[in-house]
Symmetry: C2
Subunit: 451 residues, 2 copies
């Protein structure tokens, strides 16, 4: 058996492994387990995360490459998200403790105060064909109307389906970038991809544009395709037209119960100050926005969208003024408090993994099969909810009280305390500082006394 | 049974759901399934993702809150990562197709050319105590040496364990921020958290500093604790000292086989230009850095670290010059090509989920139980590998060729083609443009001819 031979000849630590991608998933699992301290235990452990339904596992194993098993992340739900008058139970996939508890708590708090008001901008995504052009620039600019027509016609087979759904090419513009690099230009293309994130669509069209522009310059009198050198054709994740805006608002008095720790006036003064600090200090802004993304990414993961795309777009956009700033804003107008979030959010509810991944499909069902705009608003609301909850904790009791309670549960699981011991540990630490060391010491003491 | 009653009284769409967090995981699953079109199917589907081992499921269900099941993400491995002379098989958790194939391909390419050279900076993480101080500022500044001593002593029980591991408080500095807000100051604290990400440690110490500073001002002659108002105590994810630098380098001639599409000289000229464009154009830079994070985040997820923290820090840092720029750089010095990545990367290999999550623990084992610095370098190498692979495709064949092949597999799974049909579809589309519509049409044609 070639595979056994292969495993028996496990490569030395610095030898290049050849043909790995061609092994079966099972063989890859064995090779990977071979890198662990106890290969047999690792093998059975890795295999234990396979889905028992072969068809479902086949789907999951077909998503990426060199897949050897499934990595489980907690699939959670946060109820009581009232958004534009509609109530949602929001699925959130996240490994960080407290995030779902915080989102749920803030959602309920705001549901009792009118909920989230949200709006989504255009479903416009951007893409660029980067190229060098050594010919007569004015002539190229002059020919743009004809070129645009030609490009659109050349890609009709690719765009027809999207056009039938009400989307397609929104605009094509020539951008002179010679200040960056000699002869460097862009075709800046705006795509309306409707309810799809549209990455494959955009990239396919842009690559076709390179060929079509080349063909145009070849066949059109007065142009020479040898002046043209396409560099790259690729979508942009800086989707500054595909924005969402989510806000919560209430009378200042309605915040009285936000915390037992202090009066509404003090709470608000401190809350607004906290947001203003995140407007000016990059060390604080980074973590402030990270807290927003905790909620946003959890919804993105649960619905089969791509969190790296939204992260990159959001943070780059947060720096658009030349200073990296908070994505959310807080203000008090007379007796009215408003807390809002604006950020790019190009999500899809069709295509990609949204229906291929069995739980992503369930998430969308749970949300009432939203279109892209609705999903964008839901993800935004989750972000604002987490930001509110984090700031509320920070300016009142501090975040560690709640967080350490969650952390305590993790420690208890890790040190394998019995459920009787767990009960006593929880009671003991109810009003004490939690640290791993302190819990271990306490458990040791418990056990010593028990024997 | 109270729960049945509860389910039978499923709330109206805009009614607030009370007491949800107190339900059992099983009850929560039923309520969530009740929001789906076919609750019974959703229920059994959600439940099918539970791990069969009750103890493992208990750990997974204890990580977050309102957890109803596990969300599976593909757990993949990318072999042939040669980093500082050591060979790694890198576990990558990611749902985007092509990322692992790209990482593996770039890793092998560079393993044959000396591999990745990497270094990691200090394990210094930052934290801030934000506060207002209405007293005599010069006097406060003058007392800082005594205050620092007092703060360190007051938190000894919290820091002892970290100090035993060689870490602890690296510095405490008073920062005057009155230009932002009247009376606003920070204690900027630098923590050495060794191999832990250290979030709980940092937040606990900072919160204790607020109490300790208050106590100091209360008991020390010439100060009044009523001048002091602590605002927030919280870590920062902008870890600009905890950087990694990863690079690959080879003779220009050794790139001849980088692509069959063009000579090494042309390839390099185009590659360097592509990186330079990402230095200057935010639309391109965002997606360029997103590609880096594809690799980085996949390693972060696989090892139980927090990708939102690294995302926020990386992108905010990418904007530190006032313009959002590429995190990687490419250059040709004479006959030598060098491609490098520098970015903040505060990861942990102990604490948090790193050993609590069963597969995160396996990932660390597979990597030879690296310390934090090694893991940071491995994640960085994955980022640079993905960036290299993406740029190599973009400036040569375009990314769609490879990507659409992956995409085709997903479409085949989705449209439930038989394996015989799949074979014919793959053959048919070997040299054709892939689109969902085209594949569906072809399958229809196949089936029509078959009947």
């Amino acid at each position: 058996m070639p595979f056994c031979e292969y495993v028996s000849k496990m490569p030395e630590k610095t030898t290049i492994l050849k043909g790995f991608s061609k092994l079966s998933s099972e063989e890859k699992l064995l090779v990977a387990a071979g890198h662990c301290t106890d290969p047999a235990a690792a093998e059975s452990d890795l295999r234990s995360f396979h889905h028992q339904d072969h068809d479902i596992q086949k789907i999951l194993s077909g998503i990426s490459e060199n897949t050897i098993t499934n990595y489980p992340l907690p699939y959670n739900v946060a109820p009581n998200f009232l958004i534009n008058g509609q109530m949602y139970m929001v699925p959130m996939v996240i490994e960080e403790s407290s995030v779902v508890a915080a989102a749920s708590s803030a959602a309920r708090f705001w549901a009792e105060r009118g909920g989230f008001q949200a709006k989504a901008g255009k479903l416009i995504k951007k893409g660029q064909l980067h190229f060098l052009y050594a010919g007569d620039v004015e002539k190229l600019k002059g020919a743009m109307p004809v070129i645009v027509k030609h490009l659109k016609e050349s890609t009709r087979t690719l765009t027809r389906n999207m056009e039938n759904r009400g989307g397609g090419i929104a605009s094509i513009e020539l951008k002179d970038q010679q200040s960056i690099i000699d002869n460097y230009f862009q075709l800046d293309v705006r795509f309306d991809t409707r309810d799809a994130m549209g990455a494959n669509f955009i990239n396919s069209v842009l690559e076709e544009y390179a060929a079509a522009l080349n063909a145009f310059l070849y066949k059109t009198k007065g142009f020479d395709e040898r002046d043209f050198e396409p560099l790259m054709a690729i979508l942009s994740n800086y989707n500054d037209e595909c924005l969402i805006e989510v806000s919560v608002s209430c009378k200042v008095d309605a915040l009285e119960v936000a915390t037992a720790a202090m009066p509404a006036g003090d709470f608000l003064r401190r809350f607004v100050m906290a947001v203003n600090i995140a407007e000016s200090d990059v060390y604080r802004a980074t973590t402030h926005n990270k807290g927003i993304m905790n909620g946003v990414d959890a919804v993105i993961l649960a619905t089969g969208n791509d969190f790296r795309a939204i992260e990159a777009g959001a943070h780059a956009w947060a720096a658009r003024s030349g200073q990296y700033r908070s994505l959310s804003k807080a203000r008090v107008d007379g007796k009215q408090f408003t807390f809002s979030l604006e950020m790019p959010m190009a999500l899809g509810t069709t295509g990609g993994l949204t229906h291929l991944h069995p739980l992503a499909a369930r998430s969308l069902e749970m949300l009432g099969k939203p279109d892209a705009r609705k999903l964008m608003m839901i993800a935004g609301a989750a972000g604002l909810a987490n930001n509110f909850a984090a700031l509320r904790s920070l300016v009142t009791t501090g975040i560690q009280t709640g967080h350490m309670r969650m952390h305590l549960s993790n420690i208890i699981l890790k040190i394998k305390a019995s459920s009787e011991e767990a009960k006593r540990i929880k009671k003991h630490f109810a009003n004490k500082k939690v640290s791993y060391q302190a819990v271990v010491s306490y458990l040791e003491k418990l056990r010593k006394h028990a024997t």
